[in-house]
Subunit: 228 residues, 4 copies
DNA sequence: CATGAATGAGAATTCATTCAT
DNA sequence: TATGAATGAATTCTCATTCAT
């Protein structure tokens, strides 16, 4: 496998040069086809035709089919996850934890349920038989990094006495899966997003409430007091 | 893979007729190959060779590749899921909810984390581009049915005042994903089970505790008092 | 190629013995399928299934697929052509040539246009690439023999001064093709008989009239007298 | 100036481009094999090997086996039939009907008995089980169109009082089948042309004479007188 | 730089035929 | 006798990849 040419050249003076446009058209075609039909279900022919170029052109830009998929996955991830992680950091200093966490959860759900992202998960999982390293790279780059970011934030909240946690990473996953476990899971099996935006909001809200009951005892002091 | 000791096979009087043996060998070969390389990544040739039969023999028993995969998926699900759902029913009458729920969670984790079941999820998801109905059938037959069974049980527990729940199905998914969301998710991306048994137990335990904090307030009166 | 067992056993004491019935069912199934889908378009599997027997049973009665087709063709021909040739002989002594020849022509058309016979022609022609001897045998047994029988009759009629012919065989083919050339030809290309019975009668009638104008001058004496 | 006299194929500027040659070689190989072994009796493998190309090359130029056969049939028909129909038109103004019709008949026979055309008939008929539309298209394009052209000419001759006809189309088929019915029929069953050129001429001649006796009474006044 | 043309290897599926019981 | 089970060899068609221009 030859190394393929560098993917991004952010400081290019001429961002829409002929070859950059070609590259983009191929990437878009391949993305659409991979997401729709999977890795093995998509042929290089289809990609070239849809992109309106010849196959050798594709092979000049990427060493082989693997490289093309990897490029797509990596650059899609780059574009998708970062905005959320930025907002997440702000939660650590929250004055109204419940409200801010609810807001964050909605944003989390909104990010994750971008159709292309859900399909990307399916694609990567489906291709994991052929490209196991890609799947692992995906997992480390996407869910796991988010969990770690959540954990960092929760540690800070715990330091401020707002949360009571033992294992920050585990707590982070509890938050994540309470908020959208069901969506993540079900959407792997259904081509079309199986939940309406309202349903998503309900699930996010209920997830956060459950999370707070489990991890923010003082927010539920009344419960304890009542018993005491 | 060695056969483990088989004492009986109760459902058939002539369990080892020539053709039953052939069928089983093909099924085993196909299962192993599908789980390892995915649907499109496995060829009927490979299956026949591994089973030690000719291709027409495979086609005599299953109409086509789809039918073979469907058969494998369905029968694997049948074998795997039912025992757990039986045990689940018993929880409704529990005298010691925390202990029994912990026990159930361990069994849940044990069932779900059978390597072949985890791989089956990957397989079905990977094949969903080609066989979308199979993926949906899988989802309805496996996770969703378990969620419903959990919900039924939780409703009974709520009736007895042991849990406080609004939306039973949502609560069921909270339980399920608290207990093994992370495992389910991560194992889709890693060929080999990414958690040791001990890690699984820890996660199951922590998941149940979080669940109880969120949904069984009276069990936590003591906690509150203790902390107070 | 082994010789296959004798096809007909006309003096069998038990004409509907078990095995005779089996043979008949296979023959019928094969005939229907061959006529419908052609020789290469029909599989031994389909034949066995349709006949309700196993494939080895078919192979016990016929050495191979070729033998089965040959048997079918030969026995169909035997059954179909003879009645007509019997009637043909009677024409030689006709008192009213035009009327009797018209009648005969209608019978000729009726015989030839039996759907199964037309389809048989197609079948044999289609199989001639694989079984050239069969096609030749067919031609000698069916059209050619009829032409010869017609020629014999025409010779007798010429002897009586009713026809004026040079080359009897050629004259016979002129009769045959005037009467149903178009039908024979077109029906090779159309699955369903392309002519109604009325059209057939019209063609047969016009063909006979043309034939008589060409070969029975005294029946058209008026024409000649007029010119003289 | 590239405008010197061009000796080569007028319709294409680059008649022997690489791909045109490839296309021609495949067409030739396929034609030979289809004519020899029939549609189902010829495999795409054989075609590719005989053409000296790989199978994908064949599939690049024709969508599938059907398309290849259709192409061959259509282009063969185009090449074969048109010249004759041109000559036919000239007959309408004939000064010496008998002589010109004899000449035309010889040309008709010569056209139809091109070995490749006779084999093409067999091929199309044999393939009609699998490709019924092709067979019908063939019939409409070849025999039927010729019949119509003959009929048109005969109508003109009748207008000039040279023929006496009722149903022009029927008369046309009478001409066609008198002249070469036997050839057309017999050659469907025999791989090699079953008649020598001399035999063909004799049949054509006799066919025309019979036709004229049946449809051109005044041409036969002399005959009648002679006989009288 | 881009392409039309090409290909070896392999995909799913079916065939006529035979074995073993 | 009749069969369920089996198979070697082909079938049509596709794939990722490269050559030649």
């Amino acid at each position: 496998m030859k190394e393929h040419i560098q993917t991004t050249s952010p400081q290019s003076l001429e961002p829409d040069s002929r070859s950059a446009r070609t590259r983009r058209r191929i990437t878009e075609a391949a993305t659409a086809l991979f997401l729709e039909h999977g890795y093995l279900g998509t042929s290089m022919d289809q990609i070239a035709v849809r992109a309106g170029v010849s196959k050798p052109t594709v092979y000049r830009l990427w060493a082989d089919k693997d490289a093309l998929l990897e490029d797509i996955v990596r650059s899609t991830l780059d574009r998708a996850g970062d905005p959320f992680r930025a907002k997440l950091a702000a939660l650590a200093g929250s004055e109204d934890l419940r409200a801010d966490m609810q807001k964050l959860a909605r944003e989390y759900v909104a990010m994750i349920t971008q159709p292309s992202l859900l399909q990307l998960r399916r694609l990567v999982i489906g291709a994991s038989h052929q490209l196991p390293e890609l799947a692992q790279a995906y997992y480390q780059r996407a869910p796991e990094q988010t969990f770690r970011a959540l954990a960092d934030t929760f540690v800070q909240l715990a330091d401020r006495g707002l949360l009571q946690i033992d294992d920050p990473l585990l707590t982070a996953t509890h938050f994540a899966f309470l908020v959208l476990g069901r969506v993540l899971d079900k959407s792997l099996f259904y081509r079309d997003a199986p939940f309406s935006r309202r349903e998503l909001d309900v699930q996010a809200h209920a997830g956060v409430e459950a999370f707070l009951r489990a991890y923010a005892p003082q927010l539920h002091a009344t419960d304890c007091v009542a018993k005491a």
